[in-house]
Every structure is written in C-alpha cells, then in structure tokens.
Symmetry: C2
Subunit: 417 residues, 2 copies
C-alpha cells in the first residue's frame, strides 16, 4: 500500500496541510466579518502578527484608523497600508521589544471610551511585547527568562514570573487601554488555551499572583535582586471590564485537521492527546511503543493507522549540540523504531521553527537510526548530547518548512501500515 518514500510524502503532506488550517489569515478572515467593527486601532503582537494584520486589513481596510505590528525577526513580509511594522527579539526580549512596546502604549494612551483596539495576539508575544516595570531592567528579565527556559520550566511558569515584572503582561495592557475597548483575536500556543497565559495574557485578568511568581523562582532555585522582588510584589489586575476575546486557533484545531486528512487517505485516525508536555525524548520513546503496538497487535487502532498528538514537550539541555524539542522527540523515536518497516513519525513546530535551528522538526522511520549507524555514527550519543539537528541532518530526516506565520504548539503524527 505505501513504500517508505510515499509514506514519508504523505506524512509531510498531512502535517503541512494541518498547519495551513490554522494559518492566522484564514482564522482572522473567518472571525472578523462576524464582529462588525469600525474605526479601530489595530495592534498585532506575536510570531503570527504580520499575517494576522494583513488579513485584518484585507477584511476591514480603511475601518482601521491606525495599525502597528510587532513580530519576530524574519517574520514580517513587507508593508501593509501605512501600518508601523516592527521586528523584535524572540525567545528573549531585546531593545527593539522595549522600543516598540513603548510606541504601542503611546498610541493607546491617546484613546477614549469611544475607541476600540483590535488586538491580534499570537504566541511569542511574551518576548515580543514587553516593557519592564520601573526599577527593573530588560537585562534582568533576559537573564531570568533564559535561566527559566534552560531549567525546563513550562511556558506557564515562565509567564507567571514575567507578568509580574511587566507594564503590559498579566492584563496590564488592557488596563492601560481602558476606557477604550479591546477586541482580541487570539491564536493559542498554550496547552489548555488559558487566556491569562497566552503571550503572558496582556488582555486578560491574571489568575497568577505575586506569591506564585516567587514560588516559581524558588522551585528552580533562581536568585534575583531586591528591586525585582519589589516589582513582583505589585499585584496584576484580577478583573477587566473592557475586554472581548475570541480564540481563533489552537492545537486542537490543527490535530482535528490532521485526523480528518488522515481519514480521507484511508487511515484509521485518532487524537491520543492534545496536551503532551513531558520530556521530548521520553515522549518519542513512548509514542514509538504505541506505534509498535499498532504495528504488531493492531491496537489501539487497526492498521493503516494514524496516531495524532498535540502539545509542547520540554528539553532539559545538558549537552552542547543543537536541536529542538521536535527534533529530539523524532531522534528518540527513530532509535526505538529501528528496523521496523511501514512506520513513520513526523514531529513539527507549527510555527516552522524548532529550537535555535532552521528546521521545523524531524521526520523519521525504521531506517533512520540504521542510516546513521552505517555512517559509523551512534544516534544515542547525538541524543545524549542534545544534538538532534546534526543527527537528523546526516540521515536526511530534518523537516524544513520555513516560518509558517502561525504558532499553535507542536503536531506529532505516527503513520503505521
């Protein structure tokens, strides 16, 4: 039914088409017409900001009085009408982040109760939209962010701390816009879609407290200055009356799409989880053990089968190689699937990036580990050194899509025939 090459092509096709279903422009164009907005100020923040803004302009045109876009370097694609378009640092905020956030606040400070901010928010906003509280430097926030990232803290824990050091996170942006209204269209990159956590929840009441933030630092043994501690103690807003939020895309939607695409191709398809959040290499091994059960025992699904997982795994970096969680998950699965025919696993960041590499993830089968061994390479040593990028590159198992403009966590599919 499928030789390895065609199975590989099919897996890539399903992953790419599923990601397209959560392209921000599609989602914005589906939602905006229902809201009959007029005379809005558009603020787009996040890795998908440019495409969301472009789509909004194509729907609303001159009903947008003013537009400002803040996205990641290399993620903007040219001018949109007279919008101000900025690029800033991700995953760690930089000086451009500070400048553009200050510019956005300047704009909204001039609004009154008759105005509306159309706020287009996507993942990455935590780093792209940031202005520290008085007495806190960006440098201190940067040091804290990378220490938290390296210690394997979840994005939720990282945002709990950053919300309590920011003038825009944790509902403070919407508080600042008041009395003008905020209509937010949100693309979720947070498992469970918690609105107070997505991009550190600039337009949602903050459910986390100063005490929570201090506990996160303690849990990961991270030291901070007195001024940072004082800033953290200023509590974020717990109620906001001027906000209307629409969740226009998330990991559920990309997994639902993958399931229907796989079914169309004749596969028995099922979503196993959409909140995968354990260690990447162990997730790869676990998924491989489920794929083996399908292969040799026709359960939990009968072959041809498509197992679908959504979520965001974690990597505790110990080695000095390069890679990302999806590449590490794929390499680990390749080791566990070695020698098994008719199986393929594709793990991809839906935003097209995976760690500090140009890859979106990896696509491996039962021959990937063998290919490396035939070159005298030990796939296990690459995994141990967190060097999944180089292992997958050598075995032709990298998945490269380029920036996709969307960002709803990661999609992993396992095809078994």
């Amino acid at each position: 039914m499928f030789d390895p090459e065609s199975l590989k092509k099919l897996a890539i096709e399903i992953v790419k088409k599923s990601i397209e279903a959560v392209f921000p422009d599609r989602a914005v164009k589906e939602t905006l017409p229902k809201l009959n907005l007029d005379r809005v100020i558009l603020v787009a923040v996040g890795k998908a900001a440019w495409r969301m803004a472009k789509a909004a302009y194509e729907v609303l045109g001159k009903k947008i009085r003013k537009g400002v876009v803040v996205t990641k370097y290399g993620h903007s694609e040219g001018p949109i009408d007279d919008f101000e378009i900025y690029e800033a640092g991700h995953p760690v905020p930089d000086e451009n982040t500070i400048k553009t956030t200050r510019r956005v606040l300047e704009l909204v400070d001039q609004l009154n109760e008759n105005d509306t901010v159309l706020f287009l928010l996507s993942g990455g906003g935590s780093s792209l939209f940031e202005l520290p509280l008085e007495g806190v430097s960006l440098e201190e926030i940067q040091k804290l962010t990378s220490a938290l990232l390296k210690s394997g803290a979840s994005i939720e824990e990282i945002n709990t701390v950053r919300k309590h050091l920011s003038q825009v996170k944790g509902g403070r942006f919407a508080e600042r816009v008041f009395p003008a209204k905020v209509v937010a269209l949100v693309l979720s990159d947070v498992l469970g879609d918690r609105l107070d956590v997505i991009a550190s929840g600039p337009a949602w009441p903050d459910s986390s407290t100063s005490e929570d933030a201090l506990k996160v630092l303690e849990k990961y043994g991270i030291e901070t200055s007195e001024s940072v501690k004082r800033a953290i103690l200023q509590e974020t807003p717990k109620h906001l009356s001027n906000v209307e939020i629409h969740l226009i895309g998330n990991v559920q939607k990309v997994c639902d799409e993958a399931k229907s695409l796989a079914k169309e191709k004749g596969f028995n398809a099922e979503i196993i989880t959409t909140s995968l959040d354990c260690e990447a290499r162990e997730a790869g091994r676990f998924i491989a053990s489920i794929m083996k059960e399908v292969k040799f025992k026709d359960r939990p699904l009968k072959k041809p089968a498509a197992l679908i997982f959504g979520g965001e795994t974690v990597v505790h970096v110990k080695g000095n190689g390069i890679g990302g969680r999806n590449q590490e998950l794929a390499l680990s699965a390749a080791i566990a699937l070695e020698g098994i025919e008719g199986v393929i696993l594709c793990s991809a960041g839906t935003d097209g990036t995976d760690g500090p590499t140009d890859a979106a993830g990896g696509i491996v089968d039962g021959s990937t580990a063998k290919t490396l061994k035939a070159m005298g390479e030990d796939p296990y040593q690459y995994l141990k050194n967190n060097d999944s990028y180089n292992a997958l590159k050598k075995s032709g198992a990298l998945l490269i899509t380029g920036p996709t403009g969307t960002n709803v966590n990661d999609l992993i599919i396992g095809l078994i025939v």
Copy 2:
C-alpha cells in the same frame, strides 16, 4: 456513577485480578498436561520459581524424580515433596546464588540422553541463577550489575553483559544439560518476550555477541578488569538442539485480562501499549495527558474509559529518596492530574515489589497532590528527590500487595469517568 472511593476500589480490583490471571501455578497447570512428560528432573529458577514448582508437582507428582527450586528471599512458601528449595540474592546475585547454581549443575552433569530437565523459568533468574566463568569473581559481577542498573541500562543491555560472564546464562545451561533434553516453561518479564533475554536466556541460543557486551559497557562509560574482558570474549552458544520452550505468561496476557475485566464493568477499554519503556516520571506525565484528553474531549476513548499500559519504565536515580518506577510514575501522574475529578491511575509491579520497598506501586487521583500540599509538602520536590514512596505513603496512595509469586513486568491502568 463512581465516587472516588469506589473508583479506587475498582482500579485495585482490576489490577489484582489481572495479575492473578498470570499467576504461575495457573499457567503451569494449563500447559503441563499437554506435554505428557515422565521421569523428569525439575529445575525452577526465578521469583515465581516456588509456585511454578508447586503447581508442576501437583500435576506430575512422582513423575518428577528430583526437584530443585531457586527463588528470591521471602518468595518460597514451605516444602514441596523432597525438593531442594533455596533462596538467593535479587536484584544482585550473592553467595547463595553461586552455591545453588553449582548444586543445579552438579545435578544435571549426571544426566544422559534419555533424561529430561523440566526447566521452570521466571523473571529474576538473571540474579538468582549465576556462576561466574573461571577468572571472574561474583564481586566484579555485582559491581557491574549495580552500575548498569543505576545508569538506567535496560534489562536487555544488563543481560547482554552478564551472559558473557556466566557459566549458565546465554544458552550455556542448556549446553551443559546436553545430551539430556530441556523442556522449558517460561514466564516472561522482558518486553517483546525475547527468549535469549528472559533471565539472561539460560536455555536459548544467545543472539548477543561478545562485541555487543563490550559496547554496552562503553555506552554507559563503565570500566572493567582485563580478566573480565577476556571472559567476555569467550562466545556464547548460537545453536541448541536439545531445547523445547513454552511461553506461558507475559505482559500481553495481564493487559488482555485487565481489558476484559474493565469491559465487564462497563468501561470502554483499550490497550495503548505493552512495550512502555521510557523514563517513569515522563510516562506518568504522558499518561496523564491522555487521561485529560479522555476526560475533556472523550477521545481516544469515550468515558467511562479504561486506558491500559504494560511495560517496564526506567528511573535514572539522582536523589536520595526511596521508591520504585511504578511509584515514581504514579506520583508524576498525580502532579499532572491535580484538581481533576473522576480520574484514577494505578501503576503496579506484577511481582508485588517496586524498587527496594514493600510497595507494589501507587494508586493516585486528582486529590493526591492536593492532599500532600495541604500537609505543607511539595509533591514536585519528592519527585525530584526520587522519594515517591514517602510522598505516596503520606497521601495514602501506596499500593501494597506483598510478593505475588508472578513476574511479568508492570501494569498501569487509568480509569476516567
């Protein structure tokens, strides 16, 4: 439909009854009558040795000319006819292991081509049935075994090394019994039931080579003496003509039983994998993410649902607490399931032991982590310190069955209503 207490009782009932289905006596009594054996020498080795021998005696009676049983301390339950019954060290071989193995070899050395050894083999045989090759001391093997266990090496990798240092492993026992015949009844505690790996395959041609054994030591950076290296280079038998093997129980069978029991109780039940072998705490987190998908999205199974997993996870010990892989898996799941109602996870070693503790594993729900926090305890710190036993003990979440007499890896079930 189910309050927490009755859900907990049901989970324990399903786990206990599933383990009973792979009790060695049941399996031996189902198989022996079909083999019409006579005038046999019985050799029973492993954690389930006593019960397998007892059952064989109840079937064959005086057709057993001579019997010898080698099991783990506390796992023999009194005399069986005039059988010689010994207990020895597990998980690390000791002086009693050496003495009893020498005694067994003495017995089989007197046999001829008309004789048959009824060899009853179960997990734990690697440690209970051992006589080092000339020039290798037990002490060197013990050091190697605990170094390999601590480094997280799989049981397969550990056995590859031990087979090449032993007079009985890797097919050498059957080779020694020749020209007499070996009829082996095997209870498998190895994922995939590989006969050359179960109890280090004393009666099966060894598929691993001296080179494989040296690679395992290198992979985990373990140093050895020159005499150990010389011993390893003596190759194990690759062909055995005098052996007949019957696989009478394994993790598949215990999972199949759990599935039918859960179905009888009205649950949608499915086996997700029977070769789970990743890090215990990450497996707990992954399983919790599947249970959440069932709870909130009614997939991959509709509620009331029973998710069934079989396998043997690994723990990389870094802390100085106490516990076992099943207790660590359960504690990790408890953290991830905190606050969710109508969910329960039970993780149990089918032999009734889990790490160096008196527990078989753990049984947790959405209240377990909260119970600990209410006592001012941080479940995450217990997990970090590999101290799952104490965390589960404090929250009344230990599963204690006592030695079960069987040993087919671990069974994990998740019930969601």
